[in-house]
């Protein structure tokens, strides 16, 4: 499209004064270079890493290398407790952390919709930079594309993360044994409810806040302290805690049993779930994870979680059992075990 004859594209000066993203920002010319240099790259001081070439040289890494990638398409872009920028960093950092790796580097790919206010882009980039700095990871490569109005929802982000394994054990549901305890790191359902309330403009007081947070430090301490007694861990993102338990049940061949009365949940989250008819076990989290640990290490694991996570309330929520019929079971109400279904197709409120 570089041969386009529209006057706006031939006159960078006029375009550069625009306060929104334009297709010309993605055309590869001066505008694009300025957008990247003036609004994006300068915020990421990558230190020793060579930034201005087509590929970043990461140097030698001490240990086995972990690689993960994730795309972020959240709507709205900003919500109580975070934004698409914090998610794009925390999400990928947490994917590395949950696999047992120490996160080191991220890439940042932006797909911007024509018409996105540049101020909003700035805000997100600032958020990405601050979050990466707080996590101690470097943004070392990136890409920017602009798509026509209507072809994206404001902006999409993809981040790829590189880390190293500093410990021997690899997190896998295959490590889980019947008798192991299931632990949750904090109150559940906060992120999904925060985004839902923001998206649907549901006025709630207090309004739910996302739990978006990095988990690599607490994960490292658990790994170091518990060793092989930390069987596996997983952040309970899409599909919530129920999705994690179903994955583990399938991969391990055992049954996951949950005591419905032990689930940590903030009163405001519970209120919203009751009001809208949602099961908090199916609602997404972004800084809360489930861990399977050997039963004699439960208290130690809970103490580590308590010392790291600001909001508190880590809890032992159940245990691993031999599989009979149902892969995931929950005890609630009169106490009989019931199957816990896989997350439903969409989180939808009931009507009466």
């Amino acid at each position: 499209m570089k041969t386009s004859m529209t006057p706006a594209m031939n006159c960078p000066a006029s375009v550069s004064q625009s306060d929104t993203v334009m297709l010309a920002h993605g055309e590869g010319g001066r505008l694009m270079r300025r957008l990247i240099l003036e609004r994006i790259a300068w915020r990421f001081g990558a230190g020793d890493v060579q930034f201005h070439s087509d590929a970043a040289c990461l140097g030698k890494l001490a240990g086995d290398v972990a690689l993960t990638t994730d795309s972020y398409v959240v709507s709205p872009l900003f919500f109580p407790g975070g934004d698409i920028g914090t998610l794009a960093v925390h999400g990928t950092v947490n994917d590395l952390a949950m696999s047992g790796a120490r996160p080191l580097f991220l890439t940042l790919s932006l797909i911007l919709e024509e018409g996105l206010p540049l101020a909003m882009l700035d805000q997100v980039i600032e958020s990405v930079a601050a979050t990466a700095k707080a996590c101690g990871v470097k943004i070392v490569a990136g890409d920017t594309k602009v798509v026509p109005h209507g072809a994206a929802d404001g902006m999409f982000i993809n981040t790829t993360g590189v880390g190293v394994y500093e410990f021997h054990q690899r997190m896998s549901a295959a490590n889980i044994h019947p008798g192991d305890s299931l632990i949750i790191s904090g109150p559940i359902a906060r992120h999904g409810l925060a985004v839902l309330a923001a998206r649907e403009s549901i006025a709630l007081s207090p309004s739910p806040r996302s739990d978006s947070a990095p988990l690599h430090r607490v994960a490292a301490e658990l790994l170091e302290t518990l060793g092989a007694d930390l069987r596996t861990m997983r952040d309970a993102t899409r599909g919530g805690v129920a999705a994690v338990l179903h994955e583990w049940a399938e991969e391990s061949g055992h049954a996951m049993w949950v005591d419905g009365n032990c689930l940590p949940i903030l009163p405001e989250s519970r209120g919203v779930c009751e009001l809208l008819g949602l099961d908090p076990l199916f609602v997404a989290n972004e800084g809360t994870f489930v861990a399977a640990v050997a039963p004699h290490h439960v208290n130690q694991a809970l103490a580590i979680l308590q010392s790291h996570l600001t909001i508190g309330c880590p809890a032992s929520i159940g245990c691993v059992r031999h599989r009979e019929l149902s892969p995931v079971l929950i005890s609630r109400g009169l106490g009989a075990d019931q199957p816990l279904d896989e997350p439903p197709v969409a989180m939808l409120p009931r009507i009466c």
Partner: protein, 367 residues
């Protein structure tokens, strides 16, 4: 959490279960009218605990399940009309008519907006004068006042781009239909607490007198349900036939008079096709003639489907009238699952089949 935990208390639940077991000299058959009650009964394991003492039949009180195929087809067609957007409550969008659901229609370019209040749909119309906004108004007497209010709002704003598909249904005519069925087994009703918060419970007196069945207005939490069942069993054992209110914190004798007046001003009753049940006399609400301008069925009359036929494999009506239990349906858990449902009771969060599929351990074997 106040108003929740005390109604889910395990110890109190146990005491109530024991009381019901002690009291019953024979197995009784009760119908929980509302889908919300069905889900709590199955979710909290109450039904299981009362096996052999009380058989619960899960009635037709899931508005999504009984909405006719042709009204769903109509809403789907409207969602695909240029410059038109269909707004509805969440549950309704996943139920198919004779072809697509609204959700499937959206993936093929249909325009759909999930709202939490009907007034939000009016707001959508006000903000987008270039769009035609159609609200798919489903629900029993519980939601009818809110959609009536939406009509008032739209009228006051002078909106010409707002209309609704009035699919509201009335609970009492459906209960009468159940009692008129030749193979009816229902011996007592747990009336739907939320509906009664609007209608009150005086309206059940003629019904109780005519059909000689006790009716107990019942809530939705485990303790509410167990109290409702206990009162029903007590009455049945004593051959008492009256209306009682076990949901005092939500329901008054005469109900919510303001909400009733909203319904009366906007709607009138009409005979209505209930999915699986056929025509029920006085079974639905339609807009009164002075609000005909907001009636999507009149506004888009040419688009109303003429020959909607529902999939016949679904035996939802047999489930909702107590002829079979969800698990006795040959399609349950095999060709009919929440992911690919044959009928509405497997789709809606209040559908009996969906409740069994989610919460009943025996259902796992079938899966």
């Amino acid at each position: 959490m106040k108003y929740l935990d005390e109604y889910r208390d395990r110890k109190t639940s146990r005491l109530l279960v024991e009381q019901i077991r002690r009291l019953a000299t024979r197995p009784w058959v009760l119908m929980d009218v509302c889908g919300g009650q069905t889900h709590s009964l199955v979710r909290y394991g109450i039904e299981q605990e009362l096996t052999g003492t009380v058989e619960m039949i899960h009635g037709p009180g899931c508005p999504v399940c009984v909405t006719s195929t042709e009204l769903i087809d109509f809403a789907v067609a409207l969602s695909q009309r240029p410059q038109t957007i269909v707004a509805s409550f969440g549950d309704m969008i996943r139920v198919s008519g004779s072809g697509n659901s609204l959700l499937q229609a959206r993936s093929r370019g249909g325009k759909l907006k999930i709202v939490y209040s009907p007034v939000d749909a009016v707001e959508l119309a006000r903000k987008n004068p270039e769009l035609e906004v159609v609200f798919f108004a489903v629900g029993f007497e519980t939601t009818a006042p809110a959609t009536a209010l939406a009509v008032f709002h739209a009228d006051a704003l002078g909106l010409s781009n707002f209309s609704l598909v009035a699919a509201h249904v009335r609970v009492l005519p459906a209960m009468e239909t159940i009692m008129e069925m030749p193979d009816n087994r229902v011996q007592g009703f747990l009336a739907a607490g939320h509906v009664c918060s609007i209608t009150g419970y005086e309206i059940y007196k003629p019904f109780v007198a005519k059909y000689q069945v006790p009716v107990v207005v019942t809530g939705f939490e485990p303790i509410d349900l167990l109290e409702g069942i206990l009162r029903s069993v007590t009455m049945l054992e004593d051959s008492q036939v009256v209306v009682e209110n076990c949901y005092g914190r939500g329901v008054q004798r005469m109900g919510n008079l303001f909400a009733q007046s909203l319904i009366d001003r906007v709607y009138e009753t009409e005979d209505r096709d209930w999915r699986g049940f056929g025509k029920i006399a006085g079974g639905g609400y339609r807009l009164r003639s002075q609000y005909a301008g907001f009636d999507a069925c009149k506004k888009f009359t040419g688009m109303f489907p003429q020959d909607s036929i529902a999939a016949t494999e679904c035996r939802g009506a047999d489930v909702m009238s107590g002829r079979i239990r969800p698990k006795q349906c040959p399609a349950f858990g095999t060709t009919c699952t929440p992911e690919s449902p044959l009928g509405a009771p497997m789709v809606s969060s209040e559908g009996a089949c969906a409740a069994y599929h989610r919460f009943d351990s025996f259902a796992i074997e079938i899966r």
